[in-house]
């Protein structure tokens, strides 16, 4: 059908919205509540903020461009005086009930409301009055909810309910005092929230943000503690974005240099622990296969996912692998193996994890993960975004930094450890090593990449033949997809042997602690490309080939799955059914 926007004609297909049509004509219409993450089937089309209203000939009222489908012959004006004035008034109204604390807000310069106010040239708010004054929920270890900054776009609710099927957030109250939050105003840690943090990844303002641990880390460094840091695989392909680099650009070497300059005593790689995880997990898998144990086996690297199964599928807790997540394994080893090897006083050692994730913050406080003598395996978790702030705060000129290597003994990693950062990576790495364990030979280099398990499809499957036995493999990312898989396993419609589940879209590269994607899903693909090119560049691409991991078993743990390995590297799960 043909429509005219700002006197330009265009032919569009039926069902195209005015916003989409305008985009085709390169006409930009400001939006706020609208968010379309097409690749993961997320669409927040509330048409509730009314920022995108446009003039349509013959219509008395202004119509929201984001949710109004084009009709044949429609004549649209996006820049009429009336539309622009109305937009300004609406943004003014939003600002009239919004704290004026932009300079100290966690979303400063990342806030979409702030950007809108700037783009529309708002200098004065003509209508002032009563404002929200509600308590801030900072009870959880991961997420801070400030209802006073909520603009009711409901992006978080759509994410939590439709994509993650968790349903922890909903509208409460009515009229001016409506907010989005947990039912009965409960704190987040008393709800079904899994702390995946995808709500805050899409929040346009500072209403949902991560718990900030920067101060605690500086304090530990300045107190002269022996602060050991580890960085997750997904961090290195995203950190550069905070310094203006193209998404997916690996900045591993610069990151290591920066961390050393900031005062960390040892800079290690979580990828090392990822290789270790594979040794343990592949052993567990092969054991289950050989001894007719419980199949499928489920990976357990994602804390949000562990939360989800504990709460929503408490009857299925015998399926997940008992392996701790890599950074927790790392923490446990630092406080045992490393202290022993380097003669360090356990009391003086502080483990900091730099993660793409906000759920890891909660995870480090799990009772099940309190290691030797009640010490937490990991003391502090900070996100990729927090690391960027720390680097900027220190005044380091990141882009000009020379590259340097991780420290040893826990700095070496194989390509298998790197791909943990993308959805499908853990199971791919497991297969590379499980093949070796079952057949005693190596999976040929040409077959090492499992392309059908990569990418942004919600549920991905593959069949792998190992010594005449066929293994069905499935990968899900996003908790809604995980729910489908689990329900399928429970009712027998899904016949699989091994499953990887990650709570965030795209896996850890799409984690809630990563630089904001602002709706651009291409960023996730570029980060994945960065991860896979790191893998391809590695000389060793199978976890069991990691020399330092082999040494670790020889010197300290014995064999994969040994008693000592179990004590340090494995955990258990607790049913936590919630309303």
């Amino acid at each position: 059908m043909r429509v005219t926007i700002n006197e330009k004609d265009i032919h569009v297909e039926e069902g195209t919205t005015i916003l989409e049509a305008a985009k085709l004509l390169d006409i930009s219409i400001p939006t706020l509540c609208h968010l379309d993450l097409h690749d993961i089937k997320y669409l927040n089309k509330q048409a509730s903020c009314r920022v995108c209203v446009v003039d349509v000939k013959g219509q008395q009222n202004l119509l929201p461009a984001c949710a109004t489908p084009c009709k044949e012959g429609m004549v649209i004006s996006t820049d009429s005086f009336r539309a622009i004035q109305a937009r300004r008034t609406i943004v003014e109204l939003l600002l009239s009930d919004h704290p004026n604390s932009c300079l100290t807000c966690a979303m400063n310069l990342d806030c979409e409301l702030q950007k809108l106010a700037r783009d529309l040239g708002i200098r004065k708010i003509h209508y002032m009055g009563e404002t929200h004054d509600e308590p801030i929920d900072d009870n959880s270890y991961s997420i801070i909810r400030d209802p006073n900054k909520c603009i009711l776009c409901k992006r978080c609710e759509t994410m939590c309910t439709e994509i993650q099927t968790v349903g922890a957030l909903t509208d409460i109250g009515r009229g001016f005092f409506t907010t989005v939050g947990p039912a009965f105003h409960r704190p987040m840690n008393e709800t079904t929230c899994t702390f995946c943090g995808q709500c805050l990844a899409v929040c346009p303002t500072g209403a949902l943000t991560e718990v900030n641990n920067i101060k605690k880390v500086w304090r530990a460094i300045n107190a002269g503690k022996y602060v050991v840091v580890q960085t997750a695989p997904a961090v290195r392909v995203a950190l550069g974005e905070e310094f203006g680099l193209e998404p997916g650009t690996p900045v591993t070497g610069k990151m290591v240099t920066a961390l050393r300059r900031m005062g960390f005593r040892q800079v290690f790689d979580t990828d090392f622990a990822a290789d270790l995880t594979i040794m343990e997990e592949a052993t567990e898998f092969v054991n289950r296969v050989k001894h007719d144990g419980k199949l499928p086996i489920l990976t357990s690297c994602c804390p949000s996912w562990v939360n989800f199964i504990e709460q929503q599928f408490p009857d299925m807790l015998d399926i997940p692998s008992t392996c701790k997540s890599p950074h927790e394994m790392f923490g446990a080893l630092t406080k045992s193996y490393l202290c022993e090897k380097m003669g360090l006083d356990q009391e003086q050692v502080v483990v900091v994890s730099i993660m793409p994730c906000v759920a890891k913050k909660y995870e480090s406080h799990r009772k099940e993960l309190q290691g030797v003598e009640g010490h937490r395996d990991v003391d502090f978790v900070i996100t990729t975004r927090e690391l960027a702030i720390m680097i900027k705060e220190t005044g380091i000129n990141f882009l000009d930094l020379p590259n340097s290597d991780f420290d040893n003994p826990m700095g070496e990693s194989t390509g298998a450890g790197v791909i943990f950062g993308a959805s499908g990576g853990v199971i791919e790495a497991t297969l590379r090593t499980a093949y070796h364990m079952i057949t005693d030979s190596e999976l040929p280099d040409t077959l090492i990449e499992f392309h059908s398990l990569r990418g942004l499809d919600g549920i991905k499957t593959a069949s792998v033949d190992i010594e005449g036995r066929n293994f069905n493999i499935a990968v899900a990312h996003g908790l809604g997809n995980a729910r489908k898989l689990l329900e399928g396993i429970r009712d027998g419609t899904f016949d699989v042997d091994a499953i990887e589940i990650m709570a965030c879209p795209g896996g850890c590269i799409g984690g809630a602690g990563q630089p904001y994607h602002h709706g651009d899903m291409e960023i996730l693909e570029k980060r994945a490309q960065g991860i896979y090119s790191e893998d391809r560049g590695k000389e060793r691409r199978r976890s069991h080939q990691n020399v330092h991991v082999q040494k670790l078993y020889k010197e300290f743990l014995g064999t994969p799955g040994s008693k000592k390995a179990h004590d340090l590297l494995h955990t258990h799960y607790t049913p936590r059914p919630r309303l």
């Binding site: 048409a47 509730s48 009314r50 009222n61 109305a86 008034t89 009055g129 009515r174 001016f176 409506t178």
Partner: protein, 524 residues
């Protein structure tokens, strides 16, 4: 079915006549007509309210005695298209407020060839002071059920919902009882009157949100979600309840259907005006001698309704305005009371028909305060979804409060109209789009009052307390009674000397004025 409708009518008619004849002062009993007596009723034309106060709402037999369910029987013998044609030709327009042609609405649902369609009766009446639907539901529930069944047959729906407020317990129990009776008699349920047509009705109780009377919010609520309006991408008759074609009609609209089917389109279109046919029920309230429900032919003038039926303004006060259409409507000044009450004429003068609220105001009413009253209602009832309604209306109310508290400046009048216009043009649903109407219409017709509030800090009706000045005049004998009654100790003065009121401290409670024995307190 044990008895036919005709058999039931034959026996029950005479029993009903006998019962009514016991009260000859109250009822007029003709050979085929029953009515309430008295000029109040005689000036009305009762179609939707035809049975109210006459038949026993708990008796399906008495409903049948007054031709109940004959319209359904007749409709089932016609083709669905023919039924729709009659409703279309009658000119009946939705009585819920928007005034869309009922027949055309039915037709646009009928054209869709799908296995599931729905009929919803919107009984979520919520306008302050409006109780038209309630009286029909409580007094004549079967007329609504019959209307719904006819609609279901015409559009091809087998399932109906009545969305009724939980605050109407009597209406709810009347409906439950009526549905039960109708099913037992075979005029609802499977194979109605042996026609092969099935139609079932379920009740859904609203939890007290005004916005659930908005059709899309109502459907969200029936679907078990939070009652918030949807953005209107599709017509309800195309994709409504659970995505299926749905007809939503108001109680009064449905109650009009059986008489239309019985007496024909021509009879109905002969009543009222050419574009607004039939009658309309109004809840006539406020400063009027005989408040109550009145049903009059469309096109009657406001003057006739207020003075002839309502008996004029009490205590000989001067009439000032009438608010039609509830909180979304507008105020019409008394000098324009020759305006005819029909959809077009009301819109022309900046108001709406709405669901039929009619609040009469006299010289004691402050129009700024009236606008504030209606807006307060809309602010309370906003669902909070869209920005202009959620924050805009709140800010508009705060602006109005500046006027009533003597803090407004002249430039605030402009702000009022600018903000109102944005709210109207950009809100998501009808509630938001119409909520500033009381402000806009009073600004239009009573601009001077706003100006006086802003510039002179004066409220001519002495309603806005903060603008009042209490002063002690020369009549004061120094009895100290005012001083003793003042709750904030703002009056000073010795015995037998003239007292003084500190206006800064005064809270305008009026206690001094009430207690002064010698009229020594002047209120200005």
């Amino acid at each position: 079915m044990q008895k036919t409708l005709e058999e039931i009518k034959d026996t029950t008619w005479w029993e009903l006549v006998k019962r009514l004849n016991e009260n000859p002062d109250e009822y007029y009993v003709g050979h085929d007509k029953l009515a309430l007596k008295g000029t109040y009723y005689e000036l009305q034309e009762r179609i939707a309210l035809r049975n109210i106060g006459i038949i026993d709402p708990d008796s399906i037999d008495e409903y049948i005695a007054t031709d109940g369910y004959f319209a359904l029987q007749k409709s089932l013998q016609m083709k669905p298209e023919e039924v729709i044609d009659i409703v279309k030709d009658s000119g009946l327009r939705g009585r819920g407020g928007a005034g869309f042609s009922t027949g055309r609405k039915w037709q646009s649902a009928a054209v869709h060839q799908v296995d599931q369609k729905y009929v919803i009766c919107n009984a979520d009446e919520g306008d302050p002071g409006a109780y038209m639907d309630r009286s029909i539901l409580e007094g004549d529930p079967h007329s609504v059920l019959e209307g719904m069944a006819i609609c279901g047959y015409a559009v091809g729906a087998n399932k109906g919902y009545i969305y009724v407020r939980a605050e109407y317990p009597k209406a709810v129990s009347a409906l439950i009882n009526a549905i039960d009776q109708a099913q037992k008699l075979g005029v609802l349920g499977e194979n109605i009157l042996d026609s092969g047509f099935d139609f079932n009705i379920e009740l859904r109780l609203g939890a007290g949100a005004f916005v659930c009377g908005e059709s899309t919010a109502l459907m969200e609520s029936i679907e078990g979600k939070r009652g918030m309006p949807r953005n209107k991408e599709f017509r309800t008759t195309e994709r409504g309840l659970w995505g299926y074609p749905t007809v939503i009609n108001n109680v009064e609209t449905l109650a009009n259907i059986p008489p239309i089917m019985n007496k024909g389109a021509e009879w109905f279109s002969g009543i009222g005006t050419s574009l607004s046919t039939g009658t309309k029920v109004f809840a006539l309230v406020g400063k009027v001698n005989h408040p109550g429900l009145v049903e009059v032919p469309m096109g009657m003038s406001i003057y006739d309704i207020v003075y002839k039926i309502g008996g004029g303004i009490p205590e000989g006060k001067k009439a000032k305005a009438v608010q039609t259409g509830g909180p979304s409507g507008g105020c019409i000044p008394s000098k324009m009371w020759d305006t005819r009450v029909d959809f077009e004429s009301l819109e022309e003068v900046g108001s709406i028909m709405g669901s039929g609220g009619m609040v009469v105001m006299d010289e004691d009413d402050c129009m700024v305060d009236i606008a504030k009253f209606f807006l307060e209602f809309s602010v309370d009832e906003s669902c909070g979804k869209c920005t202009p309604c959620r924050i805009g209306n709140k800010r508009l109310l705060e602006l109005l409060e500046k006027f009533t508290q003597g803090e407004a400046e002249f430039s605030d009048i402009n702000k009022l109209s600018n903000l109102s216009n944005v709210i109207c043009a950009t809100s998501l649903c009808g509630l938001g789009q119409s909520s500033p109407n009381p402000v806009l219409s009073t600004l239009n017709y009573f601009y001077d009052e706003y100006k006086e509030h802003a510039e002179d800090k004066h409220c001519r009706s002495a309603v806005c307390k903060q603008l009042l000045r209490y002063e002690v005049n020369e009549n004061c004998v120094g009895c100290t009674r005012c001083l003793q009654h003042c709750p904030v100790d703002c009056i000073t003065g010795a015995i037998r000397e003239r007292h003084y009121i500190d206006i800064e401290k005064c809270i305008r409670c009026g206690e001094c004025f009430k207690n002064c024995p010698v009229d020594a307190i002047t209120v200005s």
